[in-house]
């Protein structure tokens, strides 16, 4: 039996037919839609490598059943930049070199975009570190990650209104 759903992924509306209702959003993205930017680190909601935005909120795609998000708007790492212009969070991760092996990076970037949109961490490094704690980085590039989120948060608050935040 096939299960139909509609998702808007990175701005494009897509009709999707699933043969198995248990497919996670992560597997849907990676294996069926070939959007492999979203990574699988643990597949059980504990590392944050699979973070995407679902209706603007950050979530672990490995814990989200695709079917239960029928009608949702999904933003993945592939949908963040506008053409060749990087999103301020992406640009900040490059400028601050907030990575080593890069495997956690898409998740970190998406989580940072979500965190900034939540508006709770502001520009307090301690709260940013707390707010980013769901995204593990085994290379422990945490200094660069924190600096990048801080820099992006500052830039995005000062240029608010000129650019959408997610």
């Amino acid at each position: 039996m096939s299960h139909d759903l509609t998702l808007t992924i990175n701005g494009t509306r897509q009709q999707i037919a699933l043969d198995d209702p248990r497919v996670t959003l992560l597997d849907l993205l990676r294996e069926r839609l070939h959007l492999t930017g979203t990574k699988k680190g643990c597949d059980r909601g504990q590392c944050g490598a699979c973070t995407v935005l679902i209706d603007g909120r950050r979530q672990n795609a490995c814990l989200a059943l695709a079917l239960s998000h029928d009608g949702a708007e999904i933003t993945t790492i592939e949908g963040l930049a506008e053409g060749d212009t990087l999103h301020p969070v992406q640009a900040a991760f490059v400028a601050e070199d907030g990575m080593q092996c890069g495997y956690c990076t898409p998740g970190q970037v998406m989580s940072a975009v979500g965190l900034i949109a939540e508006g709770r961490a502001g520009t307090d490094p301690e709260r940013i570190r707390e707010g980013m704690s769901g995204n593990l980085c085994r290379c422990a590039a945490y200094s660069g990650i924190t600096r990048a989120v801080l820099a992006a948060a500052e830039e995005m608050t000062t240029t608010k209104g000129e650019r959408k935040t997610a």
Partner: protein
């Protein structure tokens, strides 16, 4: 010049947009099959019945390969051929691969792998170090002993003696990208392998051996890994070999990746150790003699345990000149995952042994630990190496317990600088005031040094090759034997190439490591990546630049030495060309624009049987001050502040080196605090997921974290006088454990040593607090 610039990782723009590809992201042909291993549930047992019928019948299954289907059984060992791909009649650990499922999807393979009907007949399982020791379960037939002087006599004659023991837990690599391989069959039975490995040549070797092919029929490609840390030096063999065997059997592309739980259940980890020590010292804390008993949990097969345990012995002195030392190393075979390489490769365990001794001795003599450490340091290197013809200088020459002269020691100067920049003494007094005023929260502070030997201890591995092409348009294509796992090797090596030609680094394309381009490579390990490959690339670029210089010199009737490559321009005899113009001219003049480079580390000689020689080209140094707080009622703890001064020689890329140092410290501190591996008494690993195995998160990083690079070039002629930086900073994390020991000591009256074991989880901290308080 491009070297020494703090450029970000070359792939950063790809990472932030999700375009950087790892093995699992490579688009595969539609007919690709997916593999999973069926795993043993017992730690040690005879397999009396292995009924794979239900597995074969499961939906989506294309083939099942059991132990009887492979003859001869391929071997996956990186060392002594003791690791058959599949268990043959007897399983040696819980998680031991028993059969391979080949299915239409990853999920189908995994589901089917659970369906085998297995009957086991349990055999006695050795899970702990103590059990293995009691059963005399050794690799190499027994312990290995190296010594210098006469430790027993020195201890017997010493004014004071003490004994102690420290348990040191292992560590899961937790590379964020799990192990993965993809094998694509080619015409004529050849194979192309994509593997997440630090050692492409080893994969090539193991796959060709498994298929009975010459190595030239197998090509291995590695673009990048999502972290390695040593865990991808040998542990990828099984996946690549399984895929190759299945690809041959089915004629279809085969892919295998471990899910996180499988990865943690199957693959080897850092060796757990117990180190017993017996020390003779004086009233000032000068160590006169030490006997170490190093007991290592090696797991079920040899893997890389022998060189790992050697390196633990080679770091039993760390920064201290100890003239009488005896180290007895037991490499114990246990029924657990086969312990493997992990950042530092045994060095951290050996070093922790002697740092523990220093901590214990300082406590016993009641002196400031840093002073006691200093009193035992090697002598500082002078400006010049000693004159080898001067016999008196030779006599005085300070050597390690394995008789390597220590000629580059800088820790007196380095720790003095760090002591000052971190305000160590003032903060120590502040900590004492805090502890006097607070009953529940106790603080501690410690400074520990690192001296880490750089080179592979298997001398022949210290070689590297490179291949550099310059195309007609002046763009450079670079290949070398090193692999990229986040350590920034590719960026550094590209900087070396760009500097060689005096061009910008953006004109250098760094390509995937490929056994078809550079053969017979060593693993990217032992921190040697940029030392070896940087030099090989430099050699290739020097050759090419030499050809270009000669060509231009002849045209302009000057000497080749007068041709200058800088800023993307080439100046010769008053004329100036763009680099690409020179290349176009050289091409038309039929000059070869492709060259290989090769490098073999000089000066090293090592006799591992005697434990004597110069196993290392040089030492890398560093020191860290950690300040921590503990809650003496719950054992909870935090690192409050960390100050690091680290020696990367003349850094090739300060930004990347700082990242390695911070990351190394955090991972090292994680090893000694939160990261605990627990096997139950039946030998099953209970901590096989991030829910139970805790690596440091963003909020665990010290709140104040000051990292600086020591300014000083390498005395040895390394690439641009830089020093290796991958592993040494890991051991800076030892300062966190020593600071915790200090905090625990503050809970008592100063008469009982905390005897804190590692990892210092809240439970172990509480036990130590109880000990010092006598409750």
């Amino acid at each position: 010049m491009s070297v020494a610039k703090p450029l970000p990782h070359d792939a950063a723009p790809l990472h932030v947009t999700g375009q950087a590809r790892y093995i699992d992201d490579i688009p595969v042909p539609a007919n690709t099959l997916h593999l999973a291993f069926g795993l043993s549930e017992r730690a040690h047992a005879k397999v009396t019945v292995l009924d794979l019928g239900p597995v074969r019948a499961a939906p989506g299954v294309v083939a099942v390969i059991g132990p009887d289907d492979l003859s001869p059984m391929p071997d996956c060992s990186p060392s002594i051929h003791d690791e058959p791909l599949l268990a043959m009649g007897e399983v040696h650990y819980a998680g031991h691969p028993m059969f391979i499922v080949v299915a239409e999807s990853h999920l189908a393979a995994r589901r089917a792998a659970r369906l085998a009907m297995v009957t086991y007949e349990d055999l006695p399982a050795l899970i702990t170090i103590e059990q293995a020791l009691a059963a005399n379960s050794h690799f190499e037939g027994g312990p290995v002993t190296w010594q210098i002087g006469d430790a027993a006599a020195a201890i017997a004659g010493a004014p004071r003696v003490l004994k102690g023991s420290i348990e040191i837990g292992g560590q899961e690599h937790f590379y964020l990208e799990g192990q993965a391989a993809l094998v694509l069959p080619q015409e004529g039975g050849d194979m192309v392998v994509h593997s997440s490995t630090q050692h492409p040549t080893e994969i090539q070797h193991k796959v060709s051996e498994a298929l009975g092919l010459p190595m030239n029929a197998v090509r291995v490609e590695v673009r990048r890994m999502g972290g390695g840390f040593g865990g991808k030096e040998s542990q990828g063999n099984h996946l690549a070999v399984a895929c190759a065997v299945a690809a041959r059997a089915t004629g279809r592309p085969c892919k295998m990746r471990y899910d996180r739980d499988d990865d943690m259940m199957i693959t080897g980890k850092r060796h757990a150790f117990r180190i017993d020590y017996h020390v003779g010292h004086d009233d000032r804390g000068r160590i006169l003699g030490v006997e170490f008993l190093q007991l290592a949990q090696c797991g079920w097969s040899a893997d890389l345990s022998l060189p790992v345990c050697d390196r633990a012995m080679l770091h039993a002195d760390n920064a201290y000149l100890i003239e009488n030392m005896r180290i007895e190393s037991h490499r114990l075979r246990t029924n657990t995952q086969s312990a493997t390489a992990y950042r530092g490769f045994g060095g951290p365990q050996g070093m922790l042994g002697i740092e523990r001794v220093l901590d214990h001795v300082a406590f016993a003599v009641g002196r400031e630990p840093l002073e006691v450490r200093r009193a035992n340091f090697y002598g500082e290197a002078g400006g010049q190496p000693p004159d080898p013809r001067d016999i008196s200088a030779q006599k005085k020459q300070q050597v390690t317990p394995y008789r390597m002269p220590v000629e580059d020691f800088i820790l007196h100067g380095l720790t003095a600088r760090l002591e000052e920049s971190s305000a160590y003494l003032a903060r120590k007094a502040e900590v004492a005031r805090w502890n006097a005023a607070n009953d529940v929260l106790k603080k501690g502070i410690a400074l520990t040094p690192v001296k880490f030997g750089i080179s592979f201890t298997l001398t022949w591995l210290n070689q590297a090759g490179a291949l550099v092409h310059v195309y007609q348009d002046g763009s450079v294509h670079l290949n070398h034997g090193g692999t990229e796992m986040g350590q920034g090797l590719f960026q550094k090596v590209a900087q070396v190439a760009a500097s060689g030609f005096g061009i910008g680094v953006e004109r250098v394309k760094i390509t995937a490591t490929d056994t078809g381009k550079v053969p017979n490579t060593s693993a990217t390990a032992a921190s040697s990546g940029s030392d070896l490959n940087g030099m090989a690339v430099k050699a290739a670029c020097d050759t090419l630049r030499g050809r270009l210089a000669e060509f231009l010199a002849e045209r302009h009737q000057v000497s080749p030495a007068e041709v200058l490559f800088e800023g993307g321009r080439v100046a010769v005899g008053g004329a100036e060309y763009g680099f690409d113009e020179v290349i176009a001219m050289a091409y038309q003049a039929r000059i070869s624009l492709s060259a290989t480079g090769f490098y073999a580390t000089p000066k090293i000689t090592w006799d591992r049987v005697k434990g004597q020689g110069r196993p290392f080209f040089y030492f890398a140094y560093g020191a860290a001050v950690s300040e921590v707080v503990i809650d003496r009622l719950t054992g909870e703890n935090r690192i409050l502040r960390c100050d690091i001064l680290h020696d990367a020689g003349a850094s090739l890329n300060p930004a990347i080196d700082m990242g390695q140092i911070e990351g190394g410290y955090v991972q090292g501190a994680g090893w000694l605090t939160t990261e605990e591996l627990v096997w139950d008494d039946r030998g099953r690993l209970r901590t096989h997921a991030p829910s139970t195995y805790k690596i440091p998160a963003c909020s665990d990083r010290p709140r104040v974290f000051n990292v600086a690079l020591w300014e000083g070039a390498n005395r040895e002629e390394t690439v641009y006088r830089s020093k290796a930086v991958g592993e040494p900073p890991f051991m800076l994390g030892i300062s966190a454990l020593m600071a915790l020991s200090d905090a625990v000591a503050a809970c008592g009256d100063g008469t009982v040593y905390p005897d804190l074991q590692a990892p210092a989880t809240p439970e172990r901290i509480l036990a130590a607090v109880k000990r010092v308080r006598g409750d």
